[in-house]
Every structure is written in structure tokens, then in C-alpha cells.
Symmetry: C2
Subunit: 158 residues, 2 copies
DNA sequence: TATTGTTATACTCTATAACTATA
DNA sequence: TATAGTTATAGAGTATAACAATA
């Protein structure tokens, strides 16, 4: 069977020990699943990410969003445009600095997020099905250290 | 500072415990670094991946490549076109099934791969700098289990 | 002079559908 | 009829550059 040949070839190639390659392979599949799950909520992973952050307690500007999503400010514009025209977030001029726009989720946005969050959790269960609970926890810990750094890593919480 | 606000907001959002989100964030950065490292070798991560596999001992068809890179066969066509016109791989008609093309690295392709592999290793060191050796090993183990499954995972080797 | 948001553009990646040649 | 490879196309993501309003 071709698929057996494929797996064999991959397992014997240099890529089998390339963390970046394996990660991209695993998580592009994860993104695909997540995008399908979000489709019925009118979102994709990127717009979901923006919505999730604006649903938090800390007020954020578009510049803030660009920074930690590691996207160019111009990309944030279209994401916020999209969410705003759907009535999920609104832009507010920052009185302290009238160049800045603080982006906040509306009531409707928070409701949408709550529903979409369930879809994301389900997608994650699917894409991480081969890992047990302890392994997922460890994977989460390693990723947090990668993203937030050794010190800044927020505690895992409850 | 805005960047502190950004990290704080992210750490307090629902995304801080979303494995897929954190993984995508961590490894799109990794891909960016890897692409820059490969630039001087005339490759990108996707063409590097194809080249890496065709440098392995197991002969692979384009269909095989599509399968384990999780790309559409039509995307493989342009990747192989690109590598072939650079003289790094060549297509051979499979005598057993003349529909299939076996893709093999040329001598030049293997040399290029050897050089590029060093660049990839360097990029990986950079993108995983916050993890120590044991953590990288564990991350690799978890990713292999995700990609190859619990049984098919090739042994980590030396 | 520097920064926030915006518009514009080009290139890469992702996702499908249809076609050809072989089986 | 089914499969391997190919061509074509449209939409999403990535990367830059330039501009207006504000600091």
C-alpha cells in the first residue's frame, strides 16, 4: 500500500527527528480541524484568536494584538474589520492616545466566543487523541515555556 | 509599554491554555526562522521537506509525498517541478506502474540537502532556545507520537 | 521625528475541480 | 471505473512599502 511506503519513508528520513517539521505537520492538521469546527460559528482560527483576546479582561489596542499574534498591524485591520462588521467587536478611540484603537468584544461577541470555544476544545481533543492526559499537560507546559519564556509563563491555573 | 500589555492580555486570555494556538504561534515563528535560514540555499521549508525525503533510502512516488506531507498531489507537482528545474531531484517513470513517478534526489540534491540540513539545525536551536536538552527530547517524543501514532513511532535512535 | 492605524501590492499557501494517461 | 499526475483557479495567509492622523 502506498500509505505504508509513505510512513516508512518519512520515518527513515531526516525529518523524523526535526522538531519544527513534526510540529508543523501535527498542527497544520490541527488548524485544519479547528477551522472546520469554527466554520459553523462564522470564524476561523485567526479571527477566533482576536475575539478570544478581546474577550479577556485586559483592554488591548490593535498594536497589542499585532504584537502577540505576531502579525503585521495591517493584517489586524482586516481581522478587526471582519469581526466588527459581524457585530462581534467594536473599536474605541483611546482617549489617552487618539491614534490608538482599543478593541473590545461586544455582548454578542462574548456569546459567540463562548460557543466557539466549545468547538475549539472538541477539535483539540480530536487532534490530540493519541496523547494521554499527562502527555497533553506536559505538551502544554513545554509550549507555554516556548511562547512565554521561562519566567513569564502564566501559571497553569486551576 | 505596549509589549507588556500584550503579553499580559495573552496570558489572561483563553488562548493561554489552547495547545493548538500556542503550537501554531511557536512554530510559525520557527518556520519563519527556518525559511530565512534556507534562503541562501535556494530552498524553503516545503521544498526542503520534499528534498529531505527523496534523499532517504526508501523510493517514493509523488503520491507518497502528498500523503505524508499532507499536501494535495497538485501541490507536489509544483514543488517537484521547482526542485527538478534546479537539478536537485529527478522524476523516473515507475516501470511497474507507468502512471507513477518515483522522485529521487540527484547527487547535487544530496549535497544541497546536507548543507541545508545544517541551516535547519541552527534554526531549530534558535527557535527552541528556551528549552533545555531534556525538554527538547520530550517535545520530540510527544510530536512523534502525534505524527506517527503510538505504535508506528520510529525509535529515537542514537 | 516617531508611532497607530490604514491602504495597497505581491507572493506563498490552501483547497477544489477538471483533465490525461494509464490501470 | 478508478488512480497518478497535471493544469487551473480562487481564497487565505505572509511580507513589505507608503500614507494620514496624532504624538
Amino acid at each position: 500500500m502506498a500509505s505504508e511506503t509513505a510512513t516508512t519513508a518519512l520515518a527513515h528520513s531526516a525529518l523524523a527527528t526535526d522538531i519544527d517539521f513534526l510540529a508543523v505537520k501535527a498542527f497544520t492538521t490541527g488548524t485544519r480541524i479547528a477551522n472546520r469546527s469554527l466554520e459553523s460559528h462564522g470564524l476561523r482560527v485567526r479571527s477566533y484568536s482576536v475575539l478570544a483576546i478581546t474577550c479577556g479582561e485586559v483592554p488591548v489596542t490593535q498594536r497589542d494584538l499585532a504584537e502577540f499574534l505576531a502579525l503585521d498591524p495591517s493584517q489586524i485591520v482586516s481581522l478587526v474589520d471582519e469581526l466588527e462588521s459581524a457585530g462581534l467587536v467594536k473599536r474605541e478611540v483611546d482617549p489617552a492616545d487618539r491614534r490608538s484603537r482599543v478593541v473590545r468584544a461586544t455582548k454578542r461577541g462574548r456569546d459567540r466566543f463562548a460557543a466557539a470555544r466549545g468547538a475549539i476544545a472538541e477539535a483539540e481533543r480530536e487532534s490530540l487523541a493519541t496523547l494521554d492526559g499527562a502527555e497533553r499537560a506536559e505538551l502544554l507546559r513545554l509550549l507555554r515555556k516556548l511562547v512565554f519564556g521561562p519566567e513569564d509563563a502564566p501559571s497553569a491555573g486551576t
